[in-house]
């Protein structure tokens, strides 16, 4: 009896990730009402060496490089990613360069992370991939590399998923829905504060599992461009996003030759090394890039709190080098300032937008601040910002949990 049943059991066990992948999709209209507990069937359990908690990470050149990362509950011995440009045949493979244990807290179950750093990719190409750990293979997913040059793509930005598991999951589903409906969306820039306490593995573990919900129904994964929030302290952030703790607290992601996103760290001092690095980056990138964006966690022109202490250092540099857009988080609200230069409203100035609403409870904003008058805007709701980047303009839209648009604003390219 057992012998007869064994093949059946084995086949069911091996196809478990596939079963997970084919969980019933959630209708768009149901996203704001779906129960967090009901979404578990859409996530991969962290068991044995089943690849789970996948993410694609972008830093550096997004046209030709990406890191594919996942977690396993057991250490395993062979971890590889199978990939290719054809969804049917994953003709290439790469062994993970990094296989280590997460820094879990005392008494927690161990877990392991695996990073496969892909290089030499073709720009503007769909890369299909499956993660394999000791023979256990994930379903086939894919992501698209950034174009070598030019525009015509979109990026999602959002931050602050640190509490509110159900709303966090709902917002992840919204991101997946946007990616499904808009094939031009390439990446998801997270503005930081993923969880409440960056030193607590259990919180990261759940965030990682829930992050799977950002995967579109057809298996499309949006590469994440990570930012370090003030609640993400500790080593786990660097382990999860394959960043060097000493040299990659701030970094640049080049989305082709024409678009660059500079990620800054508002936990580190603004002055000294970071300021020198930022100035060098902006000086180098500005003449070469049609669009130059910055993202960081603590806002320079906040809608709720006081300005970050980084403002006197960062803002003059943004002004000097004509940064096009500043993406912020931390405030738990929504805002778009008027264009600002030299601390004043200026038609050629820089627009600061965002403030974070990926699940965390929202706060009341102070709409009386000068940078929300005569065209600026502030409000409170869970949201992401969708940026449509073309040669002549960049359109930013705040998309709410129910798919409604709260703000639609277009920036013209600098001459």
């Amino acid at each position: 009896m057992i012998q007869k049943a064994a093949p059946l059991l084995i086949s069911v066990f091996c196809s478990y990730p596939l079963l997970v992948a084919t969980a019933k999709p959630i209708a768009d209209a149901d996203i704001p009402r779906v129960n967090g507990g009901d979404l578990v069937s859409h996530m991969t359990p962290l068991r044995g060496t089943i690849p789970a908690q996948w993410r694609v990470i972008w830093k550096g050149d997004a046209s030709t490089e990406a890191t594919i990362s996942w977690s396993t509950a057991e250490e395993g011995s062979k971890h590889q990613v199978l990939y290719g440009t054809d969804g049917q045949t994953l003709d290439k493979s790469l062994d993970c360069q990094v296989n280590r244990a997460y820094t879990v807290n005392k008494g927690d179950k161990p877990a392991y992370y695996h990073h496969a750093r892909l290089t030499g990719l073709e720009p503007d190409t769909n890369y299909h991939f499956a993660m394999e750990s000791d023979g256990k293979r994930s379903r086939t997913l894919y992501f698209r590399t950034a174009p070598a040059s030019g525009t015509g793509f979109s990026v999602i930005h959002g931050g602050d998923s640190r509490s509110g598991h159900t709303d966090r999951c709902r917002m992840n589903l919204r991101i997946a829905a946007i990616a499904r409906d808009n094939r031009k969306v390439l990446a998801f820039a997270h503005g930081g504060d993923y969880i409440v306490s960056g030193k607590v593995w259990k919180q990261w573990r759940l965030w990682l599992s829930q992050h799977e919900l950002t995967t579109a129904e057809d298996g499309r994964v949006l590469p994440i461009i990570p930012t370090w929030g003030n609640h993400d302290g500790g080593v786990l952030y660097f382990e999860i996003f394959d960043l060097d703790q000493k040299t990659e607290r701030w970094h640049t992601t080049r989305l082709g030759k024409d678009v660059a996103m500079v990620t800054l760290d508002t936990n580190s001092p603004a002055g000294g090394e970071q300021a020198a690095w930022l100035e060098k980056q902006l000086k180098d990138l500005r003449p070469k890039n049609r669009w130059l964006m910055v993202q960081y966690h603590r806002p320079m022109y906040p809608a709720v709190k006081s300005p970050a202490r980084h403002a006197p250092v960062f803002c003059p540099l943004f002004d000097e080098y004509g940064v096009d857009l500043a993406l912020e988080a931390d405030g738990h609200c929504m805002k778009r300032t008027v264009p600002i230069r030299g601390g004043k409203a200026h038609p050629e100035g820089l627009v600061y937008l965002g403030e974070g609403g990926l699940g965390v409870g929202q706060r009341n904003t102070d709409r009386k601040r000068w940078y929300f008058q005569d065209g600026g805007k502030a409000g409170s709701a869970h949201h992401v910002v969708l940026l449509d980047i073309t040669d002549q303009s960049m359109r930013s839209r705040f998309i709410l949990m129910d798919g409604e648009v709260w703000d639609d604003y277009t920036i013209k390219v600098r001459k």
Partner: protein, 310 residues
């Protein structure tokens, strides 16, 4: 302490407590609320969306952890969050009113000085909320770091209520608070607190100096050591010269906030005013510290504190 000096000390304390309260209440009335309210709001919200039960249900399924004890149950947090925000504003206004009215109330009835406990408790609770909320460098050290600001109203109340009997206690309350604030800030400076680095970078930039990171680190480590020694000295010896320097340094660090961040950051100065005022008050009270030789006894206007206390 002679009556004139005592009146001066009480006046100074009253002014500093009022300014501290204005600085602490400003974000409550015009910005995002106090640390305490943020903590309570988060608790109310997390409970309303039943975050723990949702997380436990997911953890049970995904990682084989213990399933949640109860079913997920959610409710609208709106009314309770609104209540917390109102209570926050009311308590901030109440503390300001107490601080402002205290000099007049205590002239009418000395027992009114007990009201000083309220601002003291409110500031202490806020310091503990900063520690619990996290998300800031060294937030966990907020209670000892903020000691001067939450001890000062308490010391004021004691001095007004029982000046003759409580000078010794007030002397030690202020010395311990001062030592605690200087020691923690010294430790943070020595550990190269990112915020302190920016104060140094921005201030030097304003002076036209291009400071390297290495120099900034050396400066901060030096400041950290100095603050540590000052903290030790305030407990061990009664030296008006050292206390004068602490007053000056406390005010410099307090003023550094608006000078580097702009005058919109005046509440940051206001809440730190006590760091400069407390050493000055210790000079005014003039009682000895742990180690006091004959010379310091002679200098001290009140050399027999213990017998006075008893």
């Amino acid at each position: 302490m002679n009556p004139k000096l005592q009146r001066g000390a009480i006046s100074l304390m009253s002014v500093v407590v009022l300014v501290t309260m204005l600085g602490a209440a400003w974000p409550v009335l015009f910005r995002d609320g106090s640390a305490l309210a943020k903590n309570l709001e988060k608790r109310v919200w997390v409970e309303a969306v039943d975050d723990r039960a949702v997380a436990a249900a997911m953890e049970a399924e995904l990682y084989g952890e213990e399933p949640p004890a109860a079913e997920i149950s959610t409710h609208d947090p709106g009314p309770r969050i609104e209540f917390v925000r109102k209570a926050d504003r009311i308590s901030a206004i109440l503390c300001i009113l107490i601080a402002a009215a205290l000099p007049f109330l205590t002239r009418w009835r000395r027992q009114a000085a007990w009201l000083c406990l309220l601002p003291s408790l409110w500031l202490l609770l806020n310091a503990s909320a900063v520690a619990m909320n996290g998300g800031k460098a060294y937030a966990e050290l907020a209670i000892p770091a903020h000691a001067t600001r939450w001890v000062l109203p308490l010391a004021l109340g004691l001095l007004v209520l029982m000046a003759d009997r409580m000078q010794y206690t007030v002397n030690w309350l202020l010395r311990i608070a001062c030592a605690s604030t200087f020691a923690i800030h010294g430790w943070e400076a020595f550990q190269l607190h990112p915020g302190f680095q920016d104060l140094v970078f921005i201030a030097s930039g304003q002076l036209g100096l291009d400071l390297s990171t290495d120099i900034c680190h050396i400066l901060l480590r030096g400041i950290g050591l100095m603050d540590g020694l000052l903290a030790l000295s305030v407990l061990c010896i009664h030296s008006p010269k050292i206390l004068c320097w602490m007053t000056f340094w406390g005010l410099v660090t307090a003023f550094s906030r608006p000078l580097t961040m702009g005058w919109d950051a005046w509440p940051e100065l206001a809440i730190r005013l006590a760091n400069g005022a407390v050493p000055l008050l210790i000079i005014g009270i003039g009682l000895p510290a742990l180690i006091h030789n004959q010379k310091s006894r002679e200098r001290s206007p009140n050399p027999e504190p213990v017998s006075q206390e008893s």
